[in-house]
């Protein structure tokens, strides 16, 4: 079958590729672009390990055709950090031990960023429902939720400081070490 030529933006970079009409975005990213951060856990949209955003909207890359991203902007886990600077979510995931095997982590980070982009201070319940499309089999989600809460609070502190309302006494980088009950 003839390939489809696609021009798109991936993690801010202009990218062109040719894919089969029936080829999903996940296979394009992994096999043609070399971005293997998005994982295939199910191929049916049930596990969220392949979560990416297309024009800011959270999708399962296994349910989107490669041809559909023509003219759009795709962000994957590889696009979360800016240069050597990790996104606060990435830092908090490490600080809070929010990953064990780490296979679901790229999907969780992309989904959590999509949440914080639209809701800067989500409640625990809002976090849990926003991440309910991402399966993790290792952590029981406890430390993931705490990491997202910590990242949200750090981002809020940074935003306050940037807008000039900060008192200057609080450090946005303060590590939120947990208490052992």
């Amino acid at each position: 079958m003839a390939g489809v030529h696609v021009s798109t933006t991936i993690n801010g970079d202009p990218v062109e590729f040719v894919c089969q009409p029936g080829e999903v975005l996940l296979d394009v990213l992994r096999n043609r672009i070399g971005l293997t951060g998005a994982k295939e856990g199910c191929g049916t949209g049930d596990c969220g390990a392949c979560s990416v955003t297309v024009d800011g909207r959270l999708v399962c890359a296994c349910l989107v055709l490669g041809a559909e991203v023509e003219g759009r902007s795709v962000t994957t886990v590889e696009g979360l950090a800016s240069g050597g600077e990790l996104h606060p979510l990435q830092r908090k995931f490490i600080e809070h031990a929010a990953l064990q095997c780490g296979i679901c982590t790229p999907g969780f980070l992309v989904a959590a960023k999509a949440l914080l982009d639209r809701n800067a201070s989500p409640s625990e319940e809002e976090i849990r429902y926003a991440l309910a499309g991402n399966l993790c089999r290792c952590t029981g989600y406890d430390k993931i939720v705490r990491a997202v809460q910590a990242a949200a609070s750090e981002l809020a502190t940074d935003a306050t400081r940037k807008s000039g309302k900060a008192s200057g006494s609080k450090s946005g980088r303060k590590s939120t070490k947990k208490q052992v009950a």
């Binding site: 089969q20 296979d27 886990v77 780490g102 309910a132 029981g140 430390k143």
Partner: protein
């Protein structure tokens, strides 16, 4: 409790701190490479054709049309995997599970495989393979499989001690216990008997099995694979394919979860055979559906429990009869159920009898504390019933009967210092026990046990010229063990955690290491690293002695530096590890330490869990409101990852208790091989999971470590069972306690 003073007084510098894991950045940026993330020049795509029948004779496989398809480079069947193991039954079972040999034994059993230039071609080739099946009668239920008229799964199987001429599905009968059961029951004031069932579950790792295999015409091969034990995979693959062990290099990728399901080979020998036939690298990645149908699950069970107790609360006799299905190949799963069933208690008269039973389902693999959760569900549910009958608090009743140091365990050994009593005391004092429950809410608690394991281990510690340290281990890092092992090396050498780099070595770099199973990773590699570091310290002292020009006996190792003791050396400055390392080219060359050990002395581990649930009486839906895990870790090297093990194990247990099950149709086919219909807990299903780490040091380890990974999947089935039973006022005896089962139980009780 009194502990060995040498352990309780041990003062650590970095052990027990919550440092960032060394592989963290790779894993949050997408750089970490898992099983499916590797590529090789000229690689082909491998795919497997699977049986659509639960049980069928394979009369003929015609691969000619597939082979003729342009782009297809190899097609294999069991004819390409001849017996290279001299008929050794355990290895032949593994081989037969990789590829059916004349008979498909379960829905999803591999029957042929292809390697082609791309996925499209491989898929088309699979459709061109013609298999002539003759369907046979099948059996998927463990109780039905034990009947005299049941279809026979493996005609060669005989029960030891049974009729040598009679084929059977009972592959093994195991018995454990001591005392006089009849006398014990005669002494009892109260006797409770109940029967239970648990359904089959899958480990549910998010990463499906994946590998990249490459075999050349010279017989040398490489395998990149997601595995819990690349050395075991090497041994098994080499044996099954008739390769030499040293010529097959196996590299473990980052592993996206295993929980026991990646402890032995599934399709890796197939990928190697395809590569050998095609003479090209072959990447073989299973789909989720294949992972459910063809790999991993744990047993479904049917268990009878009988407990007798006196009015004063002492259990006088305990009997368990356990029937575990092993899938289509014999296993030891029933036996493990029998060994673990009564391990929490100090019992004068106890017996457990287990049947390992074959059915037409996938070959059962270990699943985190394999076999213990089901036995604990049955035992701990009955323990609650006895306590209620006696009018005793269930925690007090358990405390009164709990095993302690010196107790003869029901499975044989006599316990050293153990944590079951302390975890129960912690339950009594836990704030959750004081939270008032509302309508339709119930509280339950339960205990759990796991043996833990040590096994063959080796490790190398290399000191770099700049004073940094490379640690090579052979145990796969499934959940953050490189952080723990780096902490151990830092502690032992007295260097900063940041200057240690821990790597999981491939099979060509280190000697054999047993699979990362039995919660042995940090326990056994930790032990080997401690000894390897002490080995390196000997050399560091010798080099320092040379540099200081003093006898080596006068040089001691303190806080990461060599100190010359004695007043005659008081003018000598201590030498740091970095200073000694820098001079190493002049003092005798590279400095390293090495250790090979059979890491005996694994310490048993106990946990007690508390669970509060609310059950919707209209729908039967259960919501977990609060959950607490209390477990003995011996010594928590990295508390974050110990808590993570507790929480993850509890979450898996909660899924098993409430939702997860393999559903087989009358046709013997698996009806829910996907995450939509086999529903594991999601974020919104669970509360925060409270954890308490107890540290009762294991005298069998230099740092007191016990394995921590498995024990906490043992109590949840029973803790939730007890909580749900208390909420609805009906004893739940069938796991999972899905809404229809709960509604059915409520209705039946009316």
């Amino acid at each position: 409790m009194s502990h060995d003073a040498s352990f309780t007084n041990q003062k650590f510098k970095v052990i027990g701190t919550r440092v960032p894991r060394p592989d963290g950045i790779d894993k949050v940026t997408g750089r970490a490479r898992y099983g499916a993330d590797a590529t090789a020049p000229g690689q082909l795509v491998g795919m497997i054709l699977r049986s659509p029948h639960a049980h069928a004779d394979i009369r003929k496989i015609d691969t000619s049309a597939a082979e003729a398809l342009p782009g297809v480079k190899a097609v294999i069947t069991s004819a390409d995997l001849p017996d290279k193991v001299g008929g050794r039954r355990d290895m032949l079972d593994i081989l037969e599970n990789c590829m059916a040999r004349g008979r498909a034994l379960y829905d999803g059993h591999a029957v042929a495989a292809v390697a082609a230039i791309d996925a499209e071609t491989a898929k088309r080739a699979l459709k061109l393979i013609k298999v002539d099946y003759k369907p046979l009668a099948h059996v998927t239920d463990v109780d039905e499989a034990m009947r005299d008229d049941a279809p026979i799964v493996q005609p060669w199987v005989r029960t030891a001690g049974g009729d040598p001429n009679k084929p059977t599905n009972v592959a093994q009968i195991s018995q454990f216990g001591h005392g006089d059961l009849d006398a014990g029951f005669a002494e009892a004031d109260v006797i409770i008997e109940r029967s239970y069932k648990t359904e089959q579950t899958h480990q549910g790792y998010i990463e499906p099995h994946a590998c990249l295999a490459s075999v050349g015409p010279d017989g040398q091969g490489e395998l990149w694979v997601t595995t819990q034990g690349h050395y075991t995979f090497r041994t098994q693959c080499a044996a099954l394919l008739g390769m030499e062990v040293a010529k097959l290099k196996v590299t473990s990728s980052e592993i996206g979860g295993g929980f026991g399901g990646k402890t032995h080979v599934w399709m890796e020998p197939v990928a190697l055979a395809l590569s050998r036939k095609a003479n090209r690298p072959v990447k073989l990645v299973l789909t989720r559906e294949e992972t459910f149908r063809g790999t991993g699950p744990t047993c479904s069970t049917s268990i009878d429990i009988k407990i007798g107790a006196r009015r004063d609360g002492r259990i006088t006799a305990a009997l368990a009869t356990l029937r575990y299905q092993d899938g289509a190949f014999p296993g030891i799963w029933g036996m493990l159920g029998a060994m673990t069933a009564w391990a929490c208690y100090d019992l004068p008269n106890v017996k457990s009898v287990a049947y390992d039973v074959l059915v037409n389902r996938p070959k059962v693999a270990a699943y985190r504390a394999p076999s213990a959760p089901m036995a604990a569900f049955a035992v701990e549910s009955t323990v609650d019933l006895v306590a209620r009958e006696l009018g005793m608090d269930p925690v007090d009743f358990r405390l009164l009967n709990a095993a302690k140091e010196g107790t003869r365990a029901s499975y044989g050994p006599t316990y050293g210092p153990i944590g079951i009593g302390p975890t129960l005391e912690a339950v009594k004092n836990h704030p959750q026990m004081k939270v008032k429950l509302g309508p339709n809410q119930g509280r339950g608690m339960a205990c759990g046990f796991w043996f833990n394991f040590g096994g063959q281990t080796c490790s190398t510690v290399n000191i770099g010229v700049d004073g940094t340290v490379n640690v090579s281990v052979g145990t796969v890092d499934v959940g953050g063990s490189r952080a723990s092992l780096s902490l151990i090396a830092a502690e032992e050498l007295g260097v900063p955690y940041e200057s240690v780099k821990c790597t999981v070595a491939d099979t060509a770099t280190l000697g054999h290491n047993d699979t990362t199973e039995g919660s042995r990773g940090t326990f056994s590699s930790g032990m080997a690293i401690i000894f390897a570091c002490r080995n390196a310290v000997q050399e560091l002292r010798a080099r320092a002695a040379k540099m200081m020009d003093v006898p080596v006996e006068d040089v001691h190792w303190e806080n990461g530096q060599a100190v010359a003791l004695g007043t005659q050396h008081s003018n000598l400055q201590p030498l740091t590890l970095a200073q000694i390392a820098r001079k190493s080219p002049q003092t005798g060359g590279p400095i390293a330490g090495h250790n090979e050990v059979v890491a005996d002395g694994a310490g048993v581990s106990f946990a007690s869990h508390i669970c509060d649930v609310e059950v919707d009486p209209e729908t039967g839906q259960t919501r977990v409101l609060r959950y607490a895990v209390i477990q003995d870790a011996g010594k928590a090297i990295h508390p974050d990852y110990v808590e993570g093990q507790f929480q993850g194990a509890a979450a898996q247990g909660i899924g098993w208790a409430l939702n997860e099950e393999y559903i087989y149709g009358k046709d013997g086919r698996l009806q829910n091989p996907g995450f939509l219909d086999y529903r594991i807990p999601v974020c919104s299903d669970l509360p925060f999971i409270d954890t308490q780490i107890l540290e009762i040091p294991n005298p069998g380890h230099p740092y007191g470590i016990r394995g921590v990974g498995e024990t906490s999947i043992v109590p949840p089935l029973a803790a939730i069972g007890n909580a749900v039973s208390n909420a609805v006022g009906v004893r739940m005896t069938h796991v999972p306690m899905s809404p229809p089962r709960i509604l059915g139980a409520i209705k039946a009780a009316r």
